[in-house]
Assembly symmetry: C2
Homo-oligomer: 338 residues x 2
């Protein structure tokens, strides 16, 4: 899988170099963006391909790489939409290009726009690469068609989730649990859990009923993952997560614990702290205390547990090799502290 | 071709409706964006498919539709990069969403960002549809691989052109003719002329030498087209073009006539008028007079004529059916007043 991505980028960078250095540099930077992560999605593809006895290593590597680049494309464009210039404390693609421009003496608004413009272009290149990699898998027509349907479903859902996010930021109301869960599923879980699992299984020729069940499994794990992630964003250990526990509160983000708090009688007190861009550490600690007092943290953990149990129940209906291959990945997604 | 696009959008809109109305509305708006144009690129695909005796009408329609949606994706994202909210005097995709937000009482900077965010999402959906349409062509593997290479080349080049545009807007210097011509080729001509011609010919099974020659033909026509377009932007009749003849001057855009003027001794006088956001009609008329006095308009026409002649010379080496099918399209691209 690493070799497939490396080949793709080195070919693109050498073509780009024939045009100009700036274009070659963009490909280099995109490669660094695409190859730094935990490769969670390709690992799901490969795990399912292996569990179902798939033998086409090139195909599973290419499909895995395709899901990794879909992830890259989506986060690069998501950062444009959120006007974010960092990710996990480091400059993201927009941020690096903004910084190059400010260093060259360009004023900040123009430099930011330059960073975002470059990120729009880079995201498009990553998105197109998704389809080139599926083609490079040299799958039989029917299987390729199925894989493309999963890729399509992944993008279709995440675009819907992204749009819902934009709409909600324009017309915020009291966060509703079902809506928060649905949106997280669309924006993240479909392309992170459901479709990589299904695509890996399809490449290996898994039975239809199993592919169906893997989608359902992915849906439950996706919700459990989101709940765990939301808890870290509010109650996590900043030194371990590298993510401020002020961010979600200052942004007034509609997360699962917030939606659960919104159902309680102390919501008016809690909501007063949300969406304050200058929220202090003391205020945040007070808001967290209120959230705990209404049981929003415990309730979120219960919700995560419920969906993790449902996912494990589905796993027991599938061949044992599936569980053996998925268990460590599931544990990594859920029982994490960062 | 129209039916292929209609099918694609109606299927997507009905899937989107199951998610929510806002997503269905985005698909409707994207469809209106994708189906309003002159369909220049699909017509080139179909003309070449026909000229080379291609018989697979579904395939050529799907490949034509794919190039139309590539065009849609590129202009939607180009408008984000240029912070443009109108196209040909009407609100573009970003503009419609900005207007919806301002009508809802949202302040302009936030509303503009909302419009641009939605356009980032919509452009991604259009770009993914390009590849879905190539798949729907049900081509033999080798032909599909070739078509995907042309699609890739089209996007690869236009991303390079877009990046060069962004770079140039950050570090403007004296415009250089070769650079201006190269950038226009990358940003527009490759995906508008070269690759649609070649993809249509490949689907019909045209000889390799002819496909090569069509690329060369497209390159010359692309430059001639760009020269004609640049002349209209400076010296055109606004009532016919619907495009202000102030725009390119106010923006200080590096066009072919400007690059030609930069080679003359009156450049210091001319350049003083360029990039003034508040340039008046009188000043523009004065700048145009200077441009004419150094022969920048006549020289641009000569350059266009030279490349149109070179294109026609290539055409004479190709089967007569190619010329018969291309002549009206070439005339439309070159001998136009809007």
């Amino acid at each position: 899988m690493d070799a497939v991505l490396r080949d793709h980028f080195s070919l693109a960078a050498s073509r780009a170099r024939k045009i100009n250095d700036s274009y070659a540099a963009l490909w280099d930077r995109l490669e660094r963006n695409a190859t730094g992560g935990k490769r969670f999605r390709p690992r799901l593809v490969l795990a399912m391909h292996h569990a179902y006895g798939g033998a086409d290593m090139n195909a599973s590597a290419c499909v895995g790489a395709a899901f990794e680049l879909l992830h890259t494309a989506l986060i690069v464009h998501d950062d444009v939409i959120d006007r974010d210039f960092t990710r996990r404390g480091l400059p993201n693609l927009s941020g690096s290009y903004r910084d190059i421009a400010t260093t060259a003496g360009i004023p900040i608004p123009t430099a930011e726009h330059r960073g975002m413009s470059t990120a729009v272009i880079a995201g498009d290149l990553a998105l197109a690469a998704v389809f080139q990699l599926v083609e490079r898998a040299h799958l039989p027509a029917a299987v390729r068609g199925r894989v493309l349907e999963y890729v399509d479903e992944a993008l279709f859902a995440s675009a819907a989730g992204e749009l819902a996010d934009v709409d909600l930021s324009m017309a915020p109301g009291v966060p509703d649990l079902d809506q928060v869960v649905d949106m997280a599923r669309l924006k993240t879980a479909v392309y992170t859990f459901e479709t990589p699992l299904q695509a890996g299984a399809v490449v290996a020729g898994a039975p239809e009923a199993d592919i169906e069940a893997l989608g359902e499994f992915g849906r439950h794990i996706g919700i459990a993952y989101q709940a765990a992630d939301d808890l870290l964003g509010l109650f996590g250990d900043e030194r371990r997560t590298g993510k401020s526990v002020l961010g979600d509160l200052r942004e007034g983000k509609s997360t699962i614990p917030i939606a659960l708090a919104a159902r309680t009688e102390r919501w008016p007190e809690i909501s007063a702290f949300l969406g304050k861009p200058d929220l202090s550490h003391n205020e945040a600690e007070h808001a967290r205390g209120l959230m705990r007092s209404v049981g929003a943290d415990a309730e979120t953990r219960r919700l995560a547990q419920h969906h993790a149990d449902a996912a494990r129940a589905i796993l027991r209906t599938l061949p044992s090799a599936v569980g053996e291959n998925l268990d460590p990945l599931v544990a990594e997604a859920l029982d994490r502290d960062r």
